[in-house]
């Protein structure tokens, strides 16, 4: 079969046709010969068995009535059959009844007896047995032996016949196929030629010519169709290719642009950036990175993150934790990390590690190092400044308290002064002198006191005068006593005020458990005169269930004094007739809320957040840290200070929230 593959189609077809013809002829001849032999044999058997039947029929009487002579006579009639060489008749017991042997034929000895009909071809002979029956009675068997020479002679002729037949058929097949194969071959050869020219010239515009409308015609149609499609696709491909090239160029330019942008960005940033892929290779970095870590050129040349880690670990203070962190990260590449590295040289780097993703998949990490040494320093400085400021504000708060205390003390001192003047005045105008006058008079008349009293008109008037004087003096005493009582009260007040100041001016950090309302009252008391002076009406809305709070008293008081004073200023500035200040003490779930509400000038929205800033004030003589320090103090004790206002002219409210217990200080 392999042989067939490499010869031309024309020959292939020829070979196939001839092969097929030969095989078909072989089969036909074999069938013909076989059939002939078989049919000849059948014919022989039939002919012989007819003869046997005739003999059997003839011999029934002879067998039945035991007449072998007649049987032999009947057998002799077989002389007419030239092929029949021998015959015999057996009786029912298998004994030979009669025998026939053709003249000139070899001597015949009857073969073994058979009860049943049968025939066998052995050698050149056909041997045939037929039972003899009369009315169903088995009488005996007839045996015939035929010569097959005729068949042999006929068979000898077959090879010649067959070879003639073969030669003639193959010749005819050759001639016919030579003519007919053009029908199939030519279109195929034509198609092959066109295909070859297409393949060589890449010219898809050629077309094969259709010669018939059978499968070959369809094949050529299909081929042409295919060529058309290829042509179209070729054109489309060419244009797509051009288009693609353009797009690639554009995309390359874009890429170059974004790459340069990326590089520029990388270099423009103040941070050190390095990108590492999952295998631990440094993909890219900026100069800042190399500079801030002072990475030796050798380390960067290796491109290994491992190398860099080994190098950087020598710089970092806590290198074990630094390396462990990186190792931990390699197990969780999607994690984001923001931490701070302290370097031995006092530098502080903020490190931000973010995963690099491509289509959601993590392909690497980008490490961003920011030198925050300066920031840390500033933070430290700022913290210090803040602490100082807090100190200052506290002192300022204490100053405010002191101011109000002094003010109050001053007020009371005025009253003391007044009382003292009145007493002095009264004492100056005292009737005490009249007593000494009476005493002189009495001393003059010491010898004649009785006469004087009874006869002298002056003496007679004296008791009445004394009576009158004692009444005046009693009055005077009562007045002075009351005035001194007043004075004592004033002095006690001063005492109280000073004691209060001492009470609040104590050092911080000491907490006490107090009633919130008491604190409010103290704060109000400290501002009482100012509020009264400016005619501000104070409304107290105290929730009686408000629980005790444990706080640093002076801080809360300082805040409250400040709030009340601010409210007073706000009311004063509004110029309203009815100035009102509501103080609400209410309980929240775990805290107490003290709200100072005024109907003063209010706060514009834009200022609501700024009012807690340090240095912000709307008053000409304000320092701008009253509310700021208030908010700080509130936060220090674990509370909050919140401002609210509906707008300018609509008043404002400040709520101080205080925890029931001081917050745990973390030191």
């Amino acid at each position: 079969m392999r042989l067939l593959h490499n010869i031309s189609l024309r020959r292939k077809q020829m070979v196939i046709i001839m092969l097929v013809s030969t095989v078909a002829l072989l089969f036909a001849c074999a069938g013909f010969v076989g059939y002939n032999v078989l049919s000849f044999r059948r014919e022989m058997v039939q002919k012989t068995s007819v003869l046997a039947e005739v003999v059997a029929n003839t011999c029934t009487g002879a067998l039945d009535f035991n007449d072998p002579k007649f049987a032999e006579q009947a057998l002799r009639a077989l002389r007419a059959e030239p092929g029949l060489v021998a015959a015999c008749v057996y009786d029912r017991n298998g004994g030979v009844f009669a025998v026939y042997n053709r003249e000139g034929a070899p001597a015949f000895t009857p073969p073994p007896f058979s009860r049943w009909a049968k025939q066998e071809f052995s050698g050149n002979f056909l041997r045939l047995y037929r039972p003899v029956q009369a009315q169903g009675d088995y009488l005996g068997t007839v045996f015939l032996e035929s010569d097959l020479t005729e068949l042999r002679q006929r068979l000898m002729q077959y090879p010649l016949i067959v070879s003639w037949l073969f030669a003639a058929s193959l010749l005819a097949a050759f001639i016919i196929s030579t003519r007919l194969q053009r029908i199939i071959c030519n279109p195929i050869l034509h198609l092959a030629q066109v295909a070859r020219s297409v393949a060589l010239d890449k010219n898809y515009s050629v077309r094969a010519v259709k010669q018939s409308s059978d499968e070959l015609g369809q094949l050529i149609d299909g081929f042409n169709e295919m060529l058309t499609q290829i042509q179209e696709r070729d054109t489309a491909l060419r244009s797509a290719h051009d288009n693609l090239e353009q797009r690639v160029r554009a995309r390359t330019a874009e890429l170059a642009n974004s790459l340069s942008l990326l590089n520029a960005t990388l270099e423009a940033t103040g941070d050190g950036i390095v990108a590492v892929d999952l295998s631990g290779r440094i993909v890219c970095y900026n100069n800042k990175f190399a500079a801030m870590w002072h990475v030796p050129a050798g380390v960067l040349e290796t491109g290994s993150h491992e190398e860099f880690l080994a190098y950087s670990a020598t710089l970092v203070k806590n290198s074990d934790r630094y390396l462990a962190r990186i190792k931990e990260l390699s197990a969780h590449p999607e994690a984001e990390v923001l931490d701070v590295l302290e370097l031995g040289g006092g530098q502080v780097f903020e490190r931000l590690i973010r995963p690099q993703r491509t289509d959601q998949a993590v392909v690497g990490r980008v490490l961003n190092f920011r030198d925050i040494t300066e920031r840390k320093r500033s933070e430290l400085r700022l913290e210090e400044a803040h602490r100082e400021l807090v100190q200052a504000s506290r002192q300022a708060g204490m100053a405010e308290v002191a101011t109000s205390v002094l003010h109050n003390v001053g007020n009371v001192l005025t009253s003391v002064n007044t009382s003292a003047s009145v007493v002095l005045d009264r004492l100056k105008k005292s009737k005490m002198a009249s007593i000494s006058l009476v005493a002189g008079l009495l001393r003059e008349h010491a010898n004649d006191l009785g006469d004087f009293m009874t006869r002298d008109p002056k003496g007679q008037q004296l008791p009445a005068y004394l009576d009158q004087l004692s009444g005046r003096l009693a009055d005077e005493q009562a007045f002075l006593t009351s005035e001194l009582e007043q004075l004592k009260k004033h002095i006690e007040h001063i005492n109280q005020i000073v004691a209060m100041q001492q009470n609040y001016a104590r050092a911080g950090g000491v907490t006490e458990t107090v009633k919130p309302t008491e604190l409010v009252e103290d704060a109000l008391r400290m501002n009482a005169d100012a509020l009264a002076r400016h005619d501000v009406k104070v409304v107290r809305e105290f929730d009686p269930s408000a629980p005790d709070i444990t706080v640093e008293k002076h801080k809360v008081l300082q805040v409250l004094v400040n709030l009340i004073r601010n409210a007073k200023y706000a009311c004063d500035e509004s110029g309203r007739d009815e100035k009102r200040l509501n103080i609400v003490v209410a309980r929240a779930t775990d805290r107490v809320r003290i709200t100072v509400v005024d109907n003063g000038v209010g706060i514009p929205k834009e200022n609501l957040l700024k009012i807690f800033n340090h240095g912000f004030t709307t008053r000409k003589d304000g320092h701008g840290f009253g509310l700021h320090s208030g908010a700080l103090a509130a936060r220090e004790i674990g509370g909050a200070l919140v401002a609210h206002s509906d707008g300018p002219g609509l008043g404002a409210s400040f709520t101080l929230e205080l925890p029931l217990q001081p917050k745990k200080q973390i030191t």
């Binding site: 003839t58 009487g61 009369a134 009315q135 009675d137």
Partner: protein, 187 residues
């Protein structure tokens, strides 16, 4: 080789039977048995008119007159073979008196002892479609149909076709082929 032995045996048997006829009875078939076999074979070659049988399976009756040996051999043979001919079973009937002759059998074997009454017996069954058989020279002359003739150690047949055709019996060619057809008196 078997056939040679058989041939030898056959020759031996023939010689012995010739030398010792007295012992033939025990060695080969007896004359009565031979006769019985012939009588059993005749119905195969003879065609009776349909009227001779009441039904298609009515028996073929073989009557035996005056030969008890043959009748006995027949009875033995029938008992051992249960032979039928054309669907008819074969029966033997011993005929004691002449009165039994009428319409009782299909084949009548008359023993040679009845030679004197051949004519009368044949006449009695003339119209009864009976094949008459005997073993006597003058049987056919008396109107009998088949005569068994012992010759060359076997039985030859003589047939009187005139008599048989008068009785509307057809004797088959196979039988005729081995028989001598003789002219005899019609019965």
């Amino acid at each position: 080789m078997g056939w040679r032995l058989a041939l030898l045996w056959l020759v031996g048997v023939v010689l012995l039977s010739g030398l010792m006829p007295a012992k033939a009875d025990s060695q080969g078939p007896s004359e009565a048995q031979l006769k019985a076999a012939f009588l059993m074979s005749f119905p195969k070659y003879v065609e009776w008119p349909a009227a001779a049988f009441a039904q298609t399976n009515s028996p073929v009756v073989l009557g035996v007159l005056g030969d008890d040996n043959t009748a006995g051999a027949l009875e033995e043979m029938i008992a051992s073979t249960h032979k039928t001919v054309n669907g008819h079973p074969i029966m033997v009937k011993r005929i004691g008196s002449d009165d039994d002759l009428t319409n009782t059998c299909h084949l009548l074997f008359v023993g040679p002892s009845e030679r004197a009454r051949f004519g009368a017996i044949v006449a009695k069954v003339k119209d009864a479609h009976v094949l008459t058989v005997s073993q006597s020279e003058d049987f056919l002359a008396q109107g009998g149909m088949i005569n068994l003739v012992p010759k060359d150690r076997r039985l030859h047949l003589e047939v009187n076709l005139t008599a048989s055709s008068q009785a509307h019996l057809k004797i088959g060619s196979a039988l005729l082929s081995v028989a001598d057809v003789v002219k005899g008196k019609a019965n």
